[in-house]
């Protein structure tokens, strides 16, 4: 198998007396979708926040494309090409699509914002992802539906040439049709060569889109499975702790 884009080994994180991550390992590969599942409180969000540089791990090794790296700030992460699409989306509703997609890294020319190029690139990226539901890239985000917002958030990570995109519950608040659209988008993202980590509670979605499934249980990675070699019942078993890990298939 190829070298993973990201490889975590023995990652720990505690909040006071509570050990949230107790030596977790996780790998994600270019062009593949890795699903991260686990019950509430299993440590999924903490694991992701560490990767995003928002909340650094206490200890453990992070390898990015084979090199050991530090992730202490969101900037460290984005410089490496790690982008997180958060559950609460992290978009500014008062800004339009272009402004949101380029937030924090606007194209400048002569010291002023180069709106034309940003518009062009935003439109190109959305078209590249076959997004059809957006009429104008100058629409305010407040006027977009949940699915459209999710699309904008994902497109933003594409625009930034992300090598690893982490999606936190991308379909949680969406209707059936919109969920379908977003899952398509996730698949296209991976097909474009990006390593994708997707967090979801919805196993149906995960079996539809993921190549690998990693299960967190109370701060430990209890299983790393290939989607084709497992089934719904097994995964549920791992998530709830009624089934224990029996070997590594990676």
């Amino acid at each position: 198998m190829d070298m993973p884009v990201i490889e975590l080994t023995g990652v720990t994180k505690s909040f006071g007396p509570v050990d949230v991550l107790k030596g977790v390992g996780l790998s994600a590969y270019a062009g593949k979708v890795t699903a991260l599942v686990g019950d509430n409180g299993a440590g999924k969000s903490t694991l992701i926040k560490g990767l995003a540089g928002v909340q650094p791990y206490d200890s453990g090794e992070i390898k990015f494309a084979g090199n050991v790296v530090n992730l202490h700030t969101p900037r460290d992460a984005s410089l490496l090409g790690i982008e997180v699409v958060y559950q609460d989306l992290a978009l500014c509703e008062n800004l339009d699509i272009v402004q949101n997609m380029f937030l924090g890294r606007e194209d400048m020319k002569h010291g002023t914002l180069y709106e034309g190029v940003m518009e062009r690139e935003a439109a190109k990226t959305l078209q590249g992802l076959s997004v059809r539901t957006v009429k104008s890239v100058r629409q305010k985000v407040s006027s977009l539906s949940g699915g459209q917002r999710q699309t904008v958030a994902i497109a933003r990570s594409v625009l930034r040439n992300a090598k690893l995109v982490i999606l936190d519950e991308p379909t949680a608040a969406l209707g059936v049709a919109q969920t379908e659209q977003v899952l398509h988008l996730v698949r296209r993202l991976a097909d474009a060569g990006v390593a994708v980590i997707i967090i979801s509670h919805n196993l149906v979605d995960i079996f539809k889109v993921a190549d690998y499934i990693s299960v967190l249980y109370l701060g430990q990675m209890v299983a790393s499975l290939e989607t084709t070699k497992t089934n719904n019942a097994d995964v549920v078993g791992y998530i709830t702790g009624s089934k224990t890990y029996i070997g590594d298939n990676s």
Binding site: P74, N94, R105, E106, L113, G116, G128, K135, S143
Partner: protein, 410 residues
């Protein structure tokens, strides 16, 4: 990959489509300063019917100087209101800065230019102080600036003494509000404004063309220039006529007008076209999103307060120029009117929405109420009641228009 469909930029289409688009945006609750403009027109029509003096040339010029101080303060406040904060101390900040100015210039004989620079530095320092506590320590801005509102009043008293009053003796400062430009300079000002607008318009169009994205029909740019030419032309023409009631001629555009216009233009440029401006809107819209996007929100907040306090000092200079003196209560009562002006103009107190021009228009609405009711000879209580009513009305129009369309309240 499937066939890509075209995603527009809002700049495509004929004039008719652009106009339709504009009305569509209006209906979706994005009304900007339109309610305030409407209020302005209604109020001026009303007052001109009620009082024959209202529409005279002299009063027309008075309106500009009456609105200037409030407009400057409201524009200053926009910078902090945009990030969802408030500066209750902006007025007394200007008062303290002007107290320092008169002490330096009147008592110590310092050159007035240095005096102005030191006054602006006082503004920067106070803004930095507020910014530090709000952005770094995360004390709510309402509390920090309320504390300063009280504390700086004390500082004014300490600096100027109880009941202390200093006359402004610098003719250059006095002339800002009290003197006028020669008539030709008014026309030059208008030509410069047109040239700058045209230049910026062309620059934008060329850059968009270079980037390969659609431009709006050029006719829209010419229509805008035409509107500035006609509107500005009428204003300059009226101001250039002799408006004196005695034999000494008073004519020309008040000197404060080009100063205020320049600051309005520069501020708008910063908000619309620089990264700092974009970051202000982002922090106001969703600070967490801004932080995750890598924006240093602490610095953005800090600079917002520094900008606000510094521009507030400019409003203090205007005020001192108009009154001709600085006393220990300077700037105490104006700050809430400044907030009101911004809100009436369509700047959202929730942050993230509003423009400097909105605050300027709002200031004119408040000033015209003041002016018009003053001319009617009504007691000042009525003035306050009407201003308060207009403020609530403006906020209601804004809230209802957003609620109706299901848009967010921001």
């Amino acid at each position: 990959m499937t066939t890509p469909t075209t995603i527009g930029t809002g700049h495509e289409g004929s004039i008719r489509e652009q106009v339709t688009d504009y009305f569509h945006r209006l209906r979706s609750g994005d009304m900007g300063a339109l309610p305030a403009l409407g209020g302005f027109i209604v109020l001026s029509t009303l007052f001109s019917f009620l009082n024959p003096y209202f529409l005279t040339k002299l009063n027309f010029a008075n309106l500009f100087t009456q609105a200037a101080t409030l407009m400057m303060l409201a524009m200053a406040l926009v910078f902090v209101i945009l990030i969802g904060e408030i500066d209750l101390s902006a007025g007394v900040t200007s008062g303290v800065a002007m107290a320092v100015f008169v002490l330096l210039v009147n008592k110590m004989g310092v050159n007035w230019i240095i005096g102005v620079l030191v006054a602006l530095l006082v503004g920067i320092a106070i803004g930095g102080f507020i910014g530090y506590f709000v952005a770094k320590v995360r004390v709510p801005s309402f509390v920090v600036t309320l504390g300063l509102f009280l504390g700086l009043q004390g500082l004014e008293l300490v600096l100027l003494g109880d009941g202390g009053l200093f006359r402004i003796e610098t003719p250059q400062i006095l002339s800002i509000m009290n003197d006028n430009m020669p008539p030709w300079a008014g026309w030059v000002m208008l030509v410069i404004a047109l040239a700058v607008s045209y230049g910026m318009g062309l620059w934008d169009r060329n850059r968009r063309k270079a980037a390969g994205v659609a431009n709006r029909p050029a006719a829209l740019l010419y229509a805008k220039l035409g509107a500035i030419a006609v509107g500005g032309g009428v204003v300059v023409a009226i101001l250039n006529q002799n408006r004196a009631v005695s034999i000494v001629a008073i004519q020309g555009v008040p000197i404060v007008v080009p100063i205020a216009l320049a600051i309005l233009w520069i501020g708008t440029f910063v908000l619309d076209r620089t990264r700092f401006g974009r970051n202000l809107y982002a922090v106001g819209g969703n600070p967490e999103a801004a932080r995750r996007a890598g924006i240093k929100i602490t610095m953005v907040r800090l600079f917002a307060f520094v900008t606000c306090s510094t521009l507030a000092v400019v409003s203090g200079i205007f005020d001192a120029s108009r009154i001709g003196s600085v006393d220990a209560s300077a700037g105490k009562s104006i700050v809430l009117s400044g907030v009101a002006a911004a809100v009436v103009g369509g700047v959202s107190l929730f942050g993230g929405r509003g423009r400097l021009s909105h605050a300027a228009i709002g200031a004119f609405v408040i000033a015209i109420i003041d002016n018009g009711l003053g001319l009617l000879g009504l007691p000042s209580g009525v003035n306050f009641l009407v201003t308060g009513g207009v403020l609530i009305l403006a906020a209601t129009v804004d809230a209802v228009s957003r609620k109706r369309t299901g848009g967010s309240l921001r």
